[in-house]
């Protein structure tokens, strides 16, 4: 178990190194473009060159990257070219926004997909068909469209939730819940649709297994069979789907953050890419990889916990 965690962490570190290296060399355009984007259209060529030199952008590309890497290892992720804010400070304010909506999305997905998937698997008949139709419909609706529709209905027309913005839970817990409600709903819809199908399939498989028949013949109640035995065995594929969903939702967050003007990692990634704000972008990539690795690790451990048949080595 300890070796497993260690191996996973080592893998995470190499993934961060790989992703940031790739990002740096793919996104870096040239020093004058970055300086021009910072200074704007009216700056003279001399000013652009002066700013590029000030930021050290005139040094060889490899030197710049190794310099960043050296600082990053010591925990200094540098400062934004555009706002002179430290990248760590930027990440500290942006990561909770994305985590709020993505973890919220995963939670809603887990609760609803287990409830709906089990309902469809146990009751079958028209309920099953209805759930399947809803799933397919849910999967085919794009996130941003769902987001826009939720805003039109719940924010503009009925004024129940704020249309944009993020409130930190430090300031107000209810305000935070209200600010993430619609983004979470928009994000969770496709997740619920996909995961429900998986849960349904897994539960049906388990319910048709021999040992369930054995349990039934012993006179165990349906409720006990379902919750104590079937669900536990169906949980493993469910958790795997959920970990995949998490990564999918992290991607979906980019669009959703734009729709709701949320200052999260997604919108920061988009803006820093457009501007060429390399230190910020590298910071976002690094922290995103960390989040993905940690979440996968946690889900793997949870998988081992709910289902002892899964051995973690």
């Amino acid at each position: 178990m300890f070796a497993f965690v260690l191996r996973r962490l080592a893998f995470g570190v190499s993934l961060i190194l790989f992703a940031t290296t790739l990002t740096f060399f793919l996104v870096y355009s040239d020093s004058s473009t970055i300086a021009r984007n910072i200074l704007g259209e009216n700056a003279s060529r001399a000013q652009v060159e002066a700013r590029a030199a000030e930021l050290g952008l005139d040094r060889p590309l490899l030197v710049q990257f190794l310099d960043w890497l050296r600082s990053a290892v010591t925990g200094d992720l540098g400062t934004s070219y555009f706002t002179t804010e430290s990248v760590s400070a930027i990440l500290v304010t942006r990561a909770p926004v994305t985590l709020s909506i993505v973890l919220g999305g995963v939670l809603v997905t887990a609760l609803l997909s287990v409830a709906l998937g089990m309902l469809a698997a146990v009751r079958r008949g028209w309920i099953d068909r209805a759930v399947q139709v809803l799933s397919v419909t849910g999967m085919s609706l794009p996130n941003f469209w769902v987001g826009l529709m939720l805003v039109v209905l719940f924010a503009v027309t009925w004024q129940l939730f704020p249309a944009t913005g993020y409130v930190s839970p430090d300031l107000s817990v209810t305000g935070w819940l209200a600010s993430i409600a619609l983004p979470v709903a928009a994000l969770a819809l496709s997740g619920v649709a996909a995961a429900t199908q998986q849960v349904r399939g897994a539960v049906i498989d388990v319910l048709e297994a021999d040992y369930i028949r054995t349990l039934r013949s012993r006179g165990l109640s349906e409720r006990s069979i379902l919750f104590r035995h079937a669900l536990k065995n169906a949980a493993s594929p469910g958790l795997t789907v959920l970990s995949l969903q998490f990564i999918g939702l992290l991607g979906g967050a980019i669009v959703i953050e734009k729709v709701f003007a949320l200052p999260g990692l997604g919108s920061t990634a988009v803006e820093s890419t457009i501007q060429g704000d390399i230190p910020v972008l590298l910071g976002v990539v690094a922290v995103t990889v960390v989040i993905v690795v940690v979440v996968n690790l946690v889900i793997d451990l949870a998988n081992g916990w709910v289902n002892p048949k899964v051995t973690i080595r």
Binding site: R36, G165, T174, A178, A181
Partner: protein, 516 residues
């Protein structure tokens, strides 16, 4: 709100219902509390949406355009511009030029203190101008022409120039005249912690970068009547859809919009103000025929101008929010001449005739093209030029490199929208041989003479002299301007504002609660 209550007896459903009810209540609370409530009563908060995030509070790096929204609450400027762009007193109460316009003497207020307790005086003016001069910010040009700041007394300074700078008064009303506490300039923290003498104080505790910037009233401000709001909040919103939604729901009181959403906002009760501060069109950079020899002949450049149906473009591209034009200067510029707006009519026959007169057969020009708000315009440009015998080839460039690429000097002609400020600033940016937007460094002795005459002219004769320059530029067709797009600015019920000539958004003092 309808809550599905099938199987209500299960605890989970009850818990969910409670959660939804809590969220709904929370949503209602935060609606009312977070924004300036749209009521606009005196003493309220003014909540403004901004198209871009703040970059820096360091005066050396401040920007005009949308970013004035972040620094106008904290910093006073030496002068102020009226909505029509006329210089008005602010920290400097009076000003006068010497005879050859190389020394500007300013009289300063004696009752102003920075929020850290430092006094505002002649030394502070000197420290600030020298600070901006020493920086590499894009508006450094606003003070570049000031050779020396001589402090005559606490309340009088002289700005000594190497040669006349006709736009200097306007520069002193923007970034060139921003006054920060000299102690704060030296502290090294000013990029994040501004210290000025403005009507508000930046509240770093209540602010979250990229989310909201909060400013509370400076209780010791010398001119409080100009600013009726108790606090100001600026919320960065880069996308137009959330901006419109935030306006519709009263989360914000004001924001810059786009022509595409103007009607939708108006139908939701948002007041829409418009003003044209930019022009969009072709910069015919290769006026000397270095890349495409045909472009050296003014008749060829005039032909390009006659090829465009500008009225149709305004209707189709701007949804009517704008005006066709053949000149590059905005209506508030000293160089503006109304007669030049329709100097080039839509006349493909005349265009073909001009090309024939110039002895030019069909030829090809390459323009840069990038994904973005002008996607619909690029095919129209190539279509209309194609109809008079000029083939347009586009080179696709990444949107993040658009400005750098257009300015690279690789293209004989390029489309771009450019904001027009004062005539002198515009000439320095687009026309003079060193101007960044004169990408191939074109120069003409007659133009040089006209520009110098305008620079040296006494103030009262300057508008006519600048208009002379404008007429020459139109006649020689250095540009093929297409239209002046309107800036569309939205305010909610209870908030009123006046558009600011030569800037993307209104100035902070233009916002007032609207009692009517």
């Amino acid at each position: 709100m309808e809550t599905r209550m099938k199987g209500t007896r299960t605890r989970r459903a009850v818990a969910m219902a409670v959660a939804v009810a809590t969220l709904t209540a929370a949503g209602c609370t935060s609606q009312g509390g977070a924004a300036g409530d749209g009521g606009g009563d005196e003493g309220d908060a003014l909540v403004v949406g901004a198209r871009v995030d703040n970059n820096s509070f360091d005066p050396a790096d401040l920007e005009i355009g949308n970013r004035v929204q972040y620094w106008q609450p904290v910093y006073d400027t030496l002068l102020r511009l009226s909505p029509e762009a006329e210089p008005e007193p602010n920290l400097a109460t009076e000003w006068s030029y010497n005879e050859d316009q190389t020394v500007l003497t300013l009289q300063l207020r004696d009752d102003v203190t920075f929020t850290d307790g430092e006094p505002f005086d002649g030394e502070a003016v000197k420290a600030n101008i020298e600070h901006i001069k020493a920086g590499t910010g894009q508006n450094q040009f606003m003070v570049a022409g000031i050779d020396e700041v001589v402090v005559n007394s606490e309340t009088e300074v002289e700005l000594r120039l190497s040669e006349p700078v006709p736009a200097l008064l306007s520069y002193l009303a923007w970034v060139g005249g921003v006054m920060a506490s000299p102690a704060a300039l030296d502290s090294g923290d000013i990029a994040q912690e501004p210290v000025g003498s403005g009507p508000y104080v930046f509240d770093a505790e209540a602010s979250t970068p990229a989310t909201k910037y909060v400013y509370t009233r400076n209780e010791d401000y010398w001119n409080p009547d100009l600013y009726p709001y108790d606090s100001v909040e600026v919320r960065p919103m880069s996308d137009i859809t959330p901006t419109v939604n935030a306006l519709k729901t009263g989360q914000i009181d004001a924001a810059l919009l786009t022509p595409a959403v103007a009607e939708e906002a108006e139908s939701a009760g948002v007041t829409v103000d418009t003003l044209a501060v930019a022009w969009a069109g072709l910069i015919i950079a290769d006026r000397e025929g270095k890349v495409v020899p045909e472009l050296a002949d003014p008749r060829v450049r005039q032909a390009i101008n006659h090829a465009f149906d500008r009225e149709a473009m305004v209707e189709f591209i701007l949804s009517g929010y704008g005006a066709p034009t053949s000149q590059v200067f905005s209506t508030s510029s000293e160089a503006y001449d109304a007669a030049l707006d329709d100097a080039y009519s839509y006349d493909p026959d005349k265009a073909r005739q001009l090309l024939e007169d110039a002895g030019v057969g069909d030829f090809t020009i390459t323009l840069p093209q990038w994904d973005g708000p002008w996607n619909d315009l690029f095919p129209i440009i190539s279509d209309q030029l194609g109809k008079v015998g000029i083939t347009v080839k586009y080179k696709q460039i990444p949107p993040d490199q658009a400005i750098a690429e257009v300015l690279s000097g690789r293209y004989p002609v390029a489309f771009f929208p450019l904001a027009s400020a004062s005539a002198w600033q515009d000439l320095q940016t687009w026309v003079t041989p060193e101007a960044p937007w004169n990408m191939l460094g074109a120069q003409d002795p007659e133009l040089d003479r006209l520009i110098e005459a305008a620079q040296m002219a006494p103030a009262e004769e300057q508008p006519e002299a600048f208009q002379e320059v404008n007429r020459w530029l139109v006649e020689q067709a250095w540009f093929a301007p297409l239209f002046r797009p309107d800036q569309v600015f939205g305010t909610t019920e209870g908030t009123a504002t006046t558009m600011q000539a030569q800037n993307a958004v209104p100035s902070l003092w233009s916002f007032q609660p609207d009692q009517g």
